[in-house]
Amino acid sequence: MATIELRDVRKTYPNGVEAVKGIDLAVADGELIVLLGPSGCGKSTLLRMVAGLETISGGEVRLAGERINDKEPAQRDIAMVFQNYALYPHMSVFDNMAYGLRNRRTPAVEIERRVKEAAETLGLAELLKRKPRQLSGGQRQRVAMGRAIVREPKAFLFDEPLSNLDAKLRGQVRVEIKRLQRRLATTSLYVTHDQVEAMTLADRLVVMNSGAAEQVGTPEEVYGRPASLFVAGFIGSPAMNIVEGTIGDGGDTVRLAKGSGSDGATSATFAFEHTGPLAAKRKVKVGLRPEHLVPDPAGLLALTIDLVENLGADRLLHGHYAHAARGDAAADPVIVVRVDGTARYRAGETLRFTAARPHVHLFDAEGGRRIEGA
C-alpha cells in the first residue's frame, strides 16, 4: 500500500521566503494526483520535498505510512522523471535505466529482465545501445520514464515532464503516461502548469497559488465548483468571465451591472443554486463560463459583439453589455462567449443570452472564496 500523506508541509527559505505554506493532502494507493499552478506557486518545491531534494521546514511527509522527512532520496524508494529528462549523457540507454538498480545491488539477471521489459513497453527496444545525444526529445522522455519504471518504486514523481516537447508530441505522450500509470497502478504525483494536462491526467487535482492549496478535488469538482476566483480563472479555456453583481432583494437572485439587460436601465438577473438565502444588496463577483452562456432570444443578458474569433468547430464572441455606460470598466467588462461554429454572428450585432442555474458561480467580493450554496 503506497499511500502518500502530507500533513501541514511547509518550506521556508533561509532568506525568509515561504515557498510552501502548510499543505495537507492524502493520496490513495495508485492515485495520480496533479499539482497544478502558475510559475512560482510552490508546486515543484513541494514535489522536491517529497523526493528529498529539498529539506522540509515544517510538517510531515509519509510514504506507505512511514515518515520520510529525514530520509535521503536514495532511501525513499521513489522514482522521479525530470523536466529536462536528466539522462546520464555518457551512458547508453540500457545503462541509464540500469543505474538505479545496480546501485541497489540488484542481480544482473533481474536488471536485464526489468530493463528489457520496460524497453518493450515504451518502444525503446531498438535503442538500448544508443547514447542520449543520439535520441530525439520524445525518445529521451521515454528513457527517463523507463528509468523510473524499472525501479518499481512505491511512488512516481513527475516534474513537468512534457514541457520540453512540442505540442503534437505532448498530446501523444500524455496519453501514454496515463495508460502506463493505470497499468502499473503506482501512486503518482505530477507537477504541471498546463491545465489541459492536469485535467486529462488527474484522478484528483491540487490547485496551488503562492505556496498554498486553493482547492483539492477531482477535475469535475474543480471545473464545476471552483473554490475561489483563482481556481475559477485558472481552469477552463477561455477563462471564466468574472463580473460585478449585487444580490437581489429576495436573496436568491443576482443582478449584474446596469446596462447588462435589455435597455440602459435594466440589469441581467440570474438565479443561482443555493442552500439558503443570501443577504440582499450584498456585492459579489459573478462567474459565468464562456461555454455556459447560451444564445436565447428571451435571455436577460444583452451583449453587443465587438469581435468574432473563428476556431473552426467553435467561435468565440468578444462583447460588452449592450447598454452599458461606456468608460466605466467595472460596469462594462469584456465578456467572452463560446458558440457553435455554425453560428453566423457578426461584429456589431446585439444578442441575448441565458445561463442555467448550476452554471452561475458566486464569489465573495473580498477574498474571492466561493460562496457556498451557490
Binding site: G52, E72, A74, M80, F82, Y88, N103
Partner: protein, 293 residues
C-alpha cells in the same frame, strides 16, 4: 565558418593584417627558421664556418648524459607537478562547487596565484624552505629531516615541483569549477534518487562527465610546466644542484647563453618545438571529436 556579410576591397584587409604579419614574420618565423637551420649545421672549432650535418646534432644530444638527465628531470617534474596540482584543484573545485554561502570569497582566495610570476613563486617557496631561515624548513628539521635543497638534488626537485604545482592549482581550479558548473544539476539529482551516495556519484557520474575538461587541462598543464617554469627553476635553484633540476627549457637557455655549441642548442630548441606542436595538435584533434554531447 563563413560570414555572410563581408566588405569588399583588398587594400584594407591587408593593411589590417600587416602589423601582426610583420611581427610574426620577423620575430617568429625568421628566428624559428634560423633555429631549424642551425640545428642541422655544425660549426667548426673557430666558429667561422658551418657545414651541413644532417641529424648529427640531434644524435649527439640524445646520447649526451646531461641531456638525457634533463629529459628525466623534466619528465619527473612534469608528471609530479601535473598530478599534484590537478588532484588538489579538482578536490577544491568539487568542494567549492555547491557551496552557496562564501563561494565568492573562496574563489577569490584561491585564484590569485595565477597573477604571480613563476619566478616570484620560486622566490616565495625558496624563502619558506630556506635551510637557514625558512619556516617550513624549520618544521622539517624539527621532524628530523636534514633539509637543504641547495645540496640535495631530490629535495630541490621536490621543492621546484611544489612551487610549480602551487601556481598551477589556481588555473586548474578555475577550469574545473567551470566544468563542474556545466553538469546539469538534475543529472546529479537523478543519480541521488537512483541510489548513489556522494562518493559514488562523483566517480560514476561527475568524473566521467568532466573528462573533456580534465584532458584539456592535462595538455595545458604540460605545456605550462615545460615552458613557464623556467622562472621557477632560474630563481630557485639555477638548475642545480648539479643539474638535478635542469628541465629542458632551462638547459636550452643555459647552454645557449654559454654560446659554445650553437648547433646543439638549436637542436634542443627544435626538440622542444616538436613537443609543443605534438601536444597542441593532440589537443585540437581531441576537441574536434568530443566537443558535443
Amino acid at each position: 565558418m563563413i560570414k555572410r556579410a563581408t566588405f569588399g576591397g583588398l587594400a584594407l584587409p591587408y593593411a589590417l593584417l600587416l602589423p601582426q604579419v610583420v611581427v610574426t614574420l620577423v620575430f617568429f618565423f625568421w628566428p624559428a627558421g634560423q633555429a631549424l637551420l642551425q640545428s642541422v649545421l655544425i660549426e667548426d672549432a673557430f666558429g667561422l664556418k658551418s657545414s651541413f650535418a644532417g641529424l648529427a646534432n640531434f644524435e649527439s644530444i640524445f646520447s649526451d648524459a646531461n641531456y638525457l638527465n634533463s629529459l628525466r628531470v623534466t619528465f619527473v617534474f612534469t608528471a609530479a607537478s601535473c598530478s599534484l596540482s590537478m588532484t588538489v584543484a579538482l578536490l577544491l573545485a568539487a568542494m567549492a562547487d555547491r557551496i552557496i554561502r562564501g563561494a565568492g570569497a573562496y574563489k577569490t582566495l584561491l585564484i590569485w596565484p595565477y597573477a604571480v610570476a613563476p619566478a616570484l613563486a620560486g622566490v616565495l617557496w625558496g624563502f619558506m624552505f630556506n635551510p637557514t631561515i625558512g619556516v617550513v624548513a624549520y618544521v622539517l628539521q624539527a621532524l628530523g629531516i636534514k633539509w637543504n635543497f641547495y645540496v640535495d638534488g631530490d629535495q630541490a626537485l621536490f621543492l621546484v615541483t611544489l612551487a610549480a604545482a602551487w601556481k598551477q592549482v589556481s588555473y586548474n581550479f578555475i577550469f574545473f569549477l567551470a566544468g563542474l558548473a556545466a553538469i546539469p544539476r538534475s543529472v546529479i539529482e537523478a543519480a541521488a534518487i537512483d541510489g548513489a551516495g556522494p562518493f559514488k556519484r562523483f566517480w560514476t557520474i561527475v568524473f566521467p562527465l568532466l573528462s573533456p575538461t580534465t584532458f584539456f587541462l592535462l595538455v595545458l598543464n604540460v605545456v605550462h610546466l615545460f615552458f613557464d617554469s623556467f622562472g621557477i627553476v632560474h630563481a630557485l635553484t639555477g638548475g642545480g644542484p648539479g643539474g638535478d633540476t635542469e628541465i629542458l627549457v632551462f638547459k636550452v637557455w643555459s647552454d645557449g647563453s654559454r654560446g659554445t655549441n650553437l648547433g646543439s642548442s638549436a637542436a634542443q630548441s627544435v626538440v622542444l618545438m616538436a613537443i609543443v606542436i605534438a601536444l597542441t595538435v593532440m589537443q585540437f584533434r581531441y576537441i574536434e571529436r568530443r566537443v558535443h554531447y
